[in-house]
Symmetry: C2
Subunit: 245 residues, 2 copies
């Protein structure tokens, strides 16, 4: 396996170091990469979680549908993210997952994960850490939505994505392009598309961002961070030292 090849191990070893045996175990059990098209769904709400996916290429998102038919977006998945770990312990999925772009995923059966964790408590810990980390992003957005107005919410969310892209070295220089529609912004932040459009226009007029179709570009990180009250603390934390060894 060359380093280009997507692997669940690269997701799981971000928080805790895995041994040689752990890595081999994961490699054995992972399925071959699979091409997936934009708008295809990895699963629907209500399905039994039976597969995890590592996102090798492309973007995806998870969402919840209310009875009224409205949709709320909960997570944006970027290349390298582990999709499904957050709900793997449930007997039905609360959220569906859909590709935002064409992409490639590497499937990993839940049953294999169980066996892997039985053979290595470090793997179990890595799995838990990965899920907690992912959930922390959601928690942080709840805090964002609870305490900020539209302008700050958008600023905060843009910065969240930026720092996650930076972590995987997917930013293109000082500024960066965020390929999300305004509709996605609205579904993530509890705003209407109309108001997102207005607010992005405001931010652009203030010189904080640049707007394009299906994308925005951050121009002034300094002022945007102040506006959002953003602290990039939580994104790259190492595991609790008391859980090591």
């Amino acid at each position: 396996m060359d380093t280009q090849e997507c692997c669940i191990k690269r997701s799981l070893c971000q928080h805790i170091e895995l041994g040689e045996e752990d890595l081999l175990l994961l490699e054995e059990l992972e399925h071959a990469p699979k091409e997936v098209e934009r708008r295809s769904q990895l699963w629907k709400a209500g399905d039994v979680p039976e597969m995890l996916y590592t996102l090798q290429r492309g973007w995806a998102y998870s969402f919840h549908c209310s009875k009224g038919g409205s949709r709320q977006v909960l997570e944006i998945f970027l290349p390298g993210d582990l999709i499904g770990i957050r709900e793997v312990t449930f007997n039905t999925h609360y959220t569906g997952v859909e590709m935002l772009t064409d992409g490639v995923v590497c499937p990993f059966p839940v049953q294999s994960l169980r066996r892997a964790c039985q053979r290595s408590s470090t793997l179990g810990l890595a799995m838990h850490a990965s899920a907690s980390h992912q959930q922390a992003v959601i928690t942080e957005r709840l805090v964002n939505v609870l305490s900020h107005d539209a302008k700050s919410r958008i600023a905060h969310f843009a910065l969240e994505i930026y720092y996650r892209l930076e972590r995987i070295h997917a930013t293109d220089g000082g500024s960066f392009t965020l390929p999300l529609t305004q509709r996605l912004f609205s579904l993530m932040l509890g705003l209407t598309e109309v108001h997102v459009s207005r607010t992005l226009t405001d931010l652009a007029e203030e010189g904080l961002i640049h707007k394009r179709r299906n994308a925005i570009r951050i121009l002034d990180f300094e002022r945007l961070s102040v506006l959002a009250g953003f602290v990039p603390e939580h994104c790259s934390e190492a595991i609790n030292p008391l859980l090591r060894g």
Copy 2:
């Protein structure tokens, strides 16, 4: 140990059956119950997570403080809840935890948890399931806040607490009393105290709830559920069958 005595085992075995060995291991490692006063803090944001607590008696909440000094409440803990599992893998706490009432907690050292999980993969799984379940409550409130107005948010939150109390048989008959101040409501739901007061008055005038100082009482579950779009699905899910055995 009699059944009255609080124990981490009762939290962990809610989602997956634990073996005799697992239970003995947990009993051995748990510390003696400890009285805690209202307003005392179990830890502060920034601390290293070194202890879990099972809440034996009383209520508690976790919160995040923004730079501006405003506070957002993330979780309400009820008797039987495991406090700290959500952030146990992080090297610093993102949220502080404070007692809402006088109470009793049973401490459990994180290092002991690590050793317990090394000796039993089932315990590791139980820990993961417990954390995921707790996170799901937060995720559901994000969905709530993203898609509902003040009246529905309040209705949804009241029902969330009700079903959690029902699960631990702490409801007092058909209706029940929810001992939360309006300030707590506002911090949970991203509203002002003033607006919470107004909205509760509206709900009371419609006969859906009864209002008291520091508490409300649900009168009409049927209509309140419709208003909130509430589905009590997610609260009592068993573990993914593919992870068993």
